[in-house]
């Protein structure tokens, strides 16, 4: 073992880094994602969120249902998926009534709503990235997303960015 390799092994890794793969576009799972992300950023962590598949809906510029994407099928799919405001809950969605009930309860109980958490993530400069492959399938461009979305990445770059910290898949 060379001295460089030994140094690399004994060098303390920076634990103050949290990377989240946001796969689910479900309301409740997005609340979990953004609660962890903002909480960690507020206590000094570097936070990265990699949005892929359904998770991409959370960072679309158009938050409601809209024909976003290039081509007939992606546009249609984009409409049915919608954005942050049309995210369903993962259980007992009741045709979209449950997210409205959750938003009401969160406001009533003075807990940050999903939209407030996303705004807090922007204010705390959480690094938000989109998955290049999922964007390609869904016919989405970087301009379809909020301008706080830092970059469009592939797996290799995400692994580089998340190295040395903790990674969660939500």
């Amino acid at each position: 073992m060379g001295i460089t390799e030994l140094n690399r092994l004994i060098e303390p890794k920076d634990p103050k880094k949290l990377s989240i793969i946001s796969f689910s576009g479900d309301f409740d799972k997005l609340v979990a994602t953004f609660t962890l992300a903002t909480g960690a950023a507020a206590v000094g962590y570097e936070v990265n969120i990699f949005f892929t598949f359904w998770g991409l809906n959370a960072v679309k510029q158009k938050q409601g249902r809209a024909f976003v994407g290039t081509g007939f099928l992606p546009k249609l799919f984009g409409f049915f998926m919608g954005g942050l405001r049309s995210a369903p809950v993962s259980r007992l969605n009741f045709c979209g009534i449950s997210p409205k009930i959750f938003r009401y309860l969160m406001r009533k109980k003075n807990v940050a709503t999903l939209e407030e958490l996303v705004e807090a993530a922007k204010a705390l400069e959480v690094n938000m990235y989109a998955c290049e492959m999922a964007m390609h399938i869904l016919g989405l461009q970087k301009s379809d997303f909020i301008h706080e979305l830092k970059d469009v990445l592939g797996v290799a770059t995400f692994l580089d960015i998340s190295e040395g910290g903790r990674t969660l898949f939500i």
Binding site: T35, L36, T38, G39, A41, A42, V43, G44, K109, N110, V111, A112, E116, L117, A120, A123, L124
Partner: protein
Amino acid sequence: MSTVKLDITKEHCPMTFVKTKIALSKLQPGDILEVLLTEGEPLQNVPRSSKEQGYKVLEVSHVDGQVHKVLIEK
């Protein structure tokens, strides 16, 4: 040098930390943030995480009931 007041007694996780962090980021070096918070997680962790991020915790004092005051210098 100025003092800014922040009341997070009605907030819940993670907004207790989030509002403190955002308020601190808006201050100039030397300014003081006076935070009113409740016992439990906010009292345990707001002073600790502020220290860890290089801010100076000047005072932690009991105000009334479950409410405490923390003075943080940027």
